[in-house]
C-alpha cells in the first residue's frame, strides 16, 4: 500500500531501495583501507632509496603484493562510491551528471586495472 500518486510511480520517484547497501559498502571499505594504507606507507619508506632490482623483489613478495593489490581494489572501490555521492550532491544538470558518473566509474575500473596489471607484471614477467 503506497500513498504516492500514480504519477510519481510512473516517474520512478522515491527510494531505489539500495541506499543501505551503499552506506555499508562505504564504511566497510573505509575500515579495510586503514591497515592497508599503513602497510603501504611502510612499504614506500622501505623502498624509497632502493635500486630497481630490490624494489622489484620487494613488491613481488606475496606478503607485499597481496596487501598492495587489496589496497588498489578497495581504494578504487571506495573512491568510486564516494565520488559518486559528491557528484550526485552538487551536479544537478542531468546530462553532465550522467557523464561525470560514467567517467568516475571508467576511471575506477580503468585506473584500478592499470595498477593491478602493473603489479602483476612486476611480479611475474622477467
Amino acid at each position: 500500500m503506497s500513498i504516492r500518486t500514480p504519477y510519481a510511480r510512473v516517474q520512478g520517484l522515491g527510494s531505489a531501495k539500495e541506499g543501505v547497501g551503499h552506506f555499508i559498502a562505504q564504511r566497510l571499505s573505509a575500515a579495510a583501507l586503514i591497515p592497508l594504507f599503513l602497510i603501504f606507507i611502510a612499504f614506500i619508506i622501505s623502498i624509497a632509496d632502493a635500486d630497481y632490482e630490490t624494489f622489484k623483489a620487494r613488491i613481488s613478495s606475496p606478503l607485499m603484493a597481496t596487501p598492495l593489490l587489496l589496497l588498489i581494489l578497495t581504494g578504487f572501490y571506495h573512491m568510486r562510491i564516494g565520488v559518486q555521492v559528491v557528484i550526485e550532491d552538487y551536479i544537478h544538470k542531468h546530462g553532465t551528471k550522467l557523464l561525470l558518473l560514467a567517467l568516475n566509474t571508467f576511471w575506477a575500473v580503468g585506473g584500478a586495472l592499470l595498477c593491478i596489471y602493473s603489479v602483476l607484471k612486476l611480479s611475474f614477467a622477467g
Partner: protein
C-alpha cells in the same frame, strides 16, 4: 517542464551566511581531501605503470617524486590521506550513535586536523631517518 523558466524564488541560506564551525569545516575538508585523493590515484597509477615499464621509466618516476616539488606533493598527499582516515573514524563513531555532543564533536574535529599533521610529520621523520637523511 524542463523548459519552464524558473521563477525568482528565495533561496535557503548557504555557506557564506553561516559562521564557520569545526564540524562544518571538517565536513568540507573531508570531501575536498576525498577529491584530492582521486587525483592522487593518478599518481599511484603513474608510479606503478612506470615501474612495470622497466628500470629507465622507474628511475624517471622516482626522480619526479624525489624532486622538491614531488616531495612537496607527496607530503601534502600524506596529510590528505591521514586527515581523511581520522575524520572517517569520527564518522564511524557518529554512525554508531556516539560523539554528537556539539562541544565533543568540535573537539574531535580539532583532534583530527591536528593529529593528521602529527602523523604526517612522524611518517616523514621516520622515512627520512631510515634513509639516513638526518
Amino acid at each position: 517542464m524542463a523548459h519552464t523558466p524558473m521563477a525568482e524564488r528565495p533561496l535557503s541560506p548557504h555557506l557564506q551566511i553561516y559562521r564557520w564551525t569545526m564540524t562544518m569545516a571538517t565536513s568540507i575538508i573531508h570531501r575536498a581531501t576525498g577529491m584530492a585523493m582521486m587525483a592522487g590515484t593518478v599518481l599511484l597509477a603513474f608510479w606503478l605503470v612506470s615501474a612495470a615499464m622497466g628500470p629507465e621509466a622507474y628511475a624517471f618516476a622516482q626522480g619526479l617524486f624525489g624532486s622538491p616539488f614531488g616531495l612537496f606533493v607527496l607530503f601534502g598527499y600524506t596529510y590528505v590521506v591521514f586527515f581523511h582516515m581520522l575524520n572517517g573514524l569520527r564518522y564511524m563513531f557518529w554512525d554508531l550513535g556516539h560523539g554528537f555532543n556539539p562541544q565533543f564533536a568540535d573537539m574531535t574535529g580539532t583532534v583530527a586536523v591536528a593529529a593528521a599533521g602529527v602523523l604526517t610529520l612522524l611518517t616523514w621523520s621516520v622515512g627520512l631517518y631510515l634513509r639516513g637523511g638526518f
